[in-house]
């Protein structure tokens, strides 16, 4: 059973084609990650799914409800934790949760009990009656999640859940999200531009680049699709094509060139291939600054499928 179905969404803002035919599906009960650099179209996709923004064309449904024609049914079925939190800084944590519950049609003892339960669950019960302006970034994020969950939605959208958090709070948040997915039997769609985060949290993920899904699968599948380790050879004098030839002759598959001086090649087993690569380069008289081997990471997956370096693209946006 599919909790979210997205079919060929397109959306244009002026000159910018934010979504250029986004298509993917999320199964019930899984944590699905949309991974991509800033400006790839992840947040726009989420905003269409939570009924904030209308796509120009294409269709999408959440829990079987069409996001265009059955907006209120979608809004009841989902929790949305936006990138910019949207909590009322002058209210206390509890007041924010109670108001969120009220507009979701809850009330009375049910709502009060749920608020207590949630504030406990996300770990801010001690600060529940403090004004939100006094919260730390991590506490605010926890409150955001509580707001998204108050009406017991089946699907939760987390837009960049750990952006702006320090590394410690980020790791704590990952544990939190995993625990909540279990405790509340949730389907979670999360967007992130942290490769590590997608790797940690997502059961499956789609890599989004320039308004399109480039590839979809489990993190393990995506990495396995690369077949082997990456060898980065940084050249001293930029003899790129000579180096590529040498690498190919010893059984390594040259893939990309970074900054015009680093050749990336794929080999079955990096550790075993390395001595051969170094001596072959040496024998051909090609100067080498450094050589490194890495297990396949999502960085490599991104590079492989888009031909662009993730960090460079993320910073450029």
């Amino acid at each position: 059973m599919e909790a979210i179905v997205v079919d060929d969404l397109r959306k244009r803002y002026g000159e910018v084609q934010a979504l250029d035919g986004v298509t993917f599906a999320v199964r019930e009960g899984e944590v699905f990650g949309l991974l991509g650099p800033n400006g790839a179209g992840k947040s726009t996709t989420v905003r269409v799914l939570v009924t904030l923004t209308r796509a120009d064309s294409g269709s999408a449904s959440v829990q079987g409800h069409d996001v265009r024609r059955e907006q209120n049914a979608v809004r009841k079925a989902i929790g949305y934790v936006p990138q910019d939190s949207g909590v009322d800084g002058f209210g206390t944590g509890r007041e924010n949760v109670l108001l969120q519950g009220r507009v979701q049609g809850m009330g009375g003892r049910d709502l009060k009990g749920r608020a207590d339960e949630l504030l406990e669950l996300v770990g801010i019960a001690d600060a529940a009656d403090r004004v939100v302006r006094t919260y730390s970034g991590g506490m605010r994020r926890r409150l955001d999640i509580a707001l998204g969950l108050v009406h017991r939605p089946r699907v939760l959208f987390l837009d960049e859940p750990t952006t702006g958090l320090d590394p410690e709070a980020r790791v704590a948040m990952w544990e939190e999200v995993g625990r909540l997915a279990q405790a509340e039997a949730l389907t979670i769609l999360l967007t992130t531009h942290y490769l590590e985060e997608a790797d940690q949290l997502a059961d499956r993920l789609a890599i989004v680049s320039q308004g399109k899904v480039v590839v979809e699968g489990t993190p393990a599948e995506l990495k396995a699709g690369l077949q082997g380790d990456a060898v980065h050879v940084e050249l001293a004098n930029g003899a790129v094509s000579a180096a590529q030839g040498v690498l190919a002759s010893v059984g390594a598959r040259p893939e990309q060139v970074l900054d015009g001086r680093t050749v990336v090649a794929r080999v079955e087993n990096g550790g075993r291939a390395l001595p051969g690569i170094i001596s072959a380069l040496d024998g051909a008289g090609i100067g080498v600054e450094s050589v490194s081997v890495s297990r396949p990471s999502l960085d490599d997956v991104y590079l492989h499928y888009t031909g662009r370096d993730f960090d460079t693209e993320d910073r450029a946006a």
Partner: protein, 257 residues
């Protein structure tokens, strides 16, 4: 029903936020006091010119200060909307089944309730300064209602401008631009008979003056209830129009997302 209950919850939220700003409460009490006491003293002798219907300038002034204060309050009411837009509070509610209309209406209702509270404070100060209201309790109610209606009518405009521009600086410019001219093109501080002819005509089309006329009519002897009724009705109609405009601009804001 959902509109009414959602509006009420939003009003409670905004009211609670205001109450958490001590400086704001102080301003809310002191500012009207300043208007009444300063203007009352400054223009004390102006009643000698005639046409004021009373020799006590503060009696003439008090109901108009209620309306003026409500008007000024209204021109700033969009600031709270801009704050909610900037902090994405509005977006968060838009992803819930919360009534869309309530997000705008609650701002106007909150603004009007604030105006009513300030009206009560001004009336209490006026009584302390020796003002008496000819029609008694009913008159007090009319004055407060006149203040609330003037406030709602202009709060609608302020909300619409907030939603169209979404910028504090623009809000401030507009509030300053319409504030004083509309005040001076009304009988707030001076009797109609003492205004130049063209201003008397202009005042007839000034909603601030509609409120002043309704409120002042109940203070002095010889109250014409039809004057009161008509002017309140004009204000009610204008409120409906500006609230509808604010709601429309909210839709265009939603489309821009």
């Amino acid at each position: 029903m959902k509109v009414a209950s959602d509006t009420w919850f939003m009003v409670l939220r905004q009211g609670r936020n205001l109450m958490r700003e001590p400086i704001w409460i102080v301003m809310m009490v002191i500012q009207p006091m300043v208007w009444l006491v300063l203007y009352g003293q400054l223009f004390k002798n102006v009643t000698r010119l005639g046409g004021f219907g009373t020799g006590s300038y503060v009696t003439f002034l008090a109901p108009a200060i209620v309306v003026m204060n409500a008007f000024f309050g209204a021109t700033w009411s969009g600031m709270s909307m801009i704050n909610d837009l900037e902090h994405k509070v509005v977006e968060r509610f838009l992803a819930t089944p919360a009534s869309r209309v309530s997000l705008v209406l609650s701002q106007i209702v909150r603004s009007a309730i604030t105006a009513a509270l300030q009206a009560v404070i001004i009336l209490l100060i006026a009584f302390a300064l020796g003002v008496s209201i000819h029609t008694g309790v009913l008159g007090c109610v009319v004055i407060i209602v006149a203040g609330m209606l003037v406030n709602s009518a202009f709060a609608g405009i302020s909300q619409a401008i907030a939603l169209l521009t979404r910028r504090e600086a623009t809000m401030i410019a507009v509030a300053n631009f319409i504030g004083l001219p509309l005040l001076f093109l009304s009988t707030t501080m001076i009797a109609r008979a003492q205004m130049p002819h063209w201003m008397q005509i202009a005042a007839k089309f000034n909603p601030v003056d509609w409120g002043v006329r309704a409120a002042r009519e109940v203070v002095l002897p010889g109250t014409s209830w039809s004057t009161v009724g008509w002017h309140l009705l004009f204000l009610l109609a204008l409120t409906a129009v500006t609230a509808a405009w604010a709601t429309r601009t909210f839709r265009s804001y939603q489309r821009s997302l």
